[in-house]
Amino acid sequence: MTFNFTKYSAVYYIISGVLILATIVSLFAYGLKFGIEFVGGSNMEIQFQSTRPSNETISSALKSLSLGDVTVQPTGTNGAILQFKGVDEATHQQILTALNKLSPSSEKSFQYIGPSIGQELRNSTEVAILLALVAITLYIAFAFRKVSKPVNSWKYGVTSLIALFHDVLIPIGVFSILGHFYNVEITVPIVAALLTILGFSVHDTIVIFDRIRENILRRGMGQFEDTVNWSLTQTLGRSISTVVTVEFVLISLFFLGGETLKWFALALIIGITSGAYSSIFIASPLLVSWYKSELDKHKLL
């Protein structure tokens, strides 16, 4: 049995197109909310012993310390996460005293990132992303170096790159929206997750494309579209199983892993789902569409 995956290519293109458009709109409208490790500042997690004072009470208690914009975010039953500009150790202690006066509390964590470190981290993250993209492009070119007719090897590379951007853009869009509405920040773990998605997305596409090339070699050139659909049918079980097992551990991390790993897991969940989807419904149909448009051109000539 062969599923006809490429029959509704237009529908998949539209779905992905809408999602990517939404991402771009959200990026322009809301932008990305970067965590303090990228922009510098202080982040403090407080646990109040009995009751949590209201956000306004906390803000006004800290007003005299001139901490710039103070954001207070309730967490857990009696906890709060405070963010404000970078402060020295003396001010940090004053804040703790002020909060203790308000309601007995203990500090769970405190983080201060100086402006130079934030800038540096931004730079090194940019370098990491660029290097990862270059390395993956080179790797794809290498993996598909053996020319295979009827579609040129570089076209496999280009379509896997399109799928790659698709898979990274969609989680970025989700985090842009989460950042605007729920204050979820782009932190270092989320960048790590996005870079892992880069690897994973290509990983999935490579398995399918390998199968397509193998089937072309075995069955001859025949109908390219049929070969693609046949290959997709053969690899479908693997694609589903692989995604499901990874999603199991990620969902478990999302619900149980605590604050730091929660958003990291969510970014991976979105990216890996998108990766599995794009390998089957975007990358492979694109190969077929491209092949067909070339055929049409030849016919016109």
Binding site: I117, A128, T235, V246, V249, L256, G257
Partner: protein, 473 residues
Amino acid sequence: MAQKYYIFIGVLVLAILAGIFAYPNYFNKSVDFLNHKMSWTVPHFYEKPYVLGLDLQGGVSLVYQADLTQISDKATAMSELRDVIERRVNMFGVSEPTVEVVGTDRLNVDLPGVTNVQQAISMIGQTPYLEFDEQRTAADTQKILDVMKQVQDAQTKKQDITKIANWQTALQNPYFVATDLTGKYLTKATVQFDQTTGAPQIQLQFNAEGAKLFSDITARNIKKPLAIYLDGSSIIDTNGDGKIDGNDLYAPIVQSKITDGTAVITGSMSTQVAQTLASRLNSGALPVKIGAPISQETVGPTLGTASLQRSLWAGIYGLLAVVIFMVVFYRFPGLLASIALVIYVAITLAIFKIIPVTLTLAGIGGFILSIGMAVDANILIFARMKEEIKSGKSLSVAIDEGFKRAWPSIRDSNFNSLIVCAILFFVATSFIKGFAFTLALGILISLFSAIFITRIFLMVFVGKWAEKIKWIL
């Protein structure tokens, strides 16, 4: 074909050893039980704790930026700075602190278990502290040694040491006590050479007030040692082991009362050491200027423990879900792959202990992700095997073909993930480094477990019997 059984037994032994090493509690408990019942004397399994990062055990992490604008030999200056700060941190009584130079001008100071950040910061940034200590009376010495013993006993029994009366005394030097003479009375330190031997020595010159103090101290300590400390440690590597630590003690015997306010430090030191020492004493500061920390991270001990526990449960549930999925969808081979996966977890944890890998939240995240990814190779292989069986091949041929045909995809996709890990490891911050390292380690070990171990299992367990009930494959 007996060879496959030897390999199989080898794999089992490796798995059991790795498992016990990774989590020796149950093994040691049963050993205790058996020893008690049968009056045996089976020893405990070698115990080695996991190295936990600051985010999991609580503590303070500080980053300093050194001002190297005036300095020509930057690398040496940084390593000197590192040594000085490490000595100060050790004085603070932190267990296993790490002080390391990052890049060219950064110093990273990790203080696990420290909660008093303010004290830690002022301790690190202070000017070097030169002190002259005189010998305690024998009774005083004994008193401190007694408290130290109590504290040590309490620590081995894991009791709260703060319950012991005067437990703070255990932090003091039992043999010497500080005098009023400190580096603040020093006017200058110069390097000189002994006129007969030519050995380098350091001459200290005190101001009038210091000269008075020194004269009093020498007067009451004739024929007794006077210990000289810099930042709480001996100033000279007296036992010649290449480092200055608690085993060194520079304490020359006072020969006579010294009234002119000069002291000479002699001992086995190179001219270079003498010069650095003198310049540190003169500058009255760290070899390199550092300001307030440019980044600080404090994690409370409760948060660390909670994070560790939550992520461990996440891992256990994730592992369980993967095992159930594999057994339901791939039946017998799925069961074998699940056993291989559990062995994978045991081996990886054991390797974390052996290297040792400092486990952080990020590292555990990478490890848990790798549990989900580890079975991918098995899934690829089993899918191929099923196809071969469908096309009418015999089981042993199908198994062989399955491994052979799946290999290029497994190699390509894992290689690709390893590239990303390598880039993350070399470019990014410590959080990402921890993640990339455990993920890469996980990928490599999982290739071994998913391919080698599963294959041995299939060779041993799938025989003629399975031909009749092919549905379980």
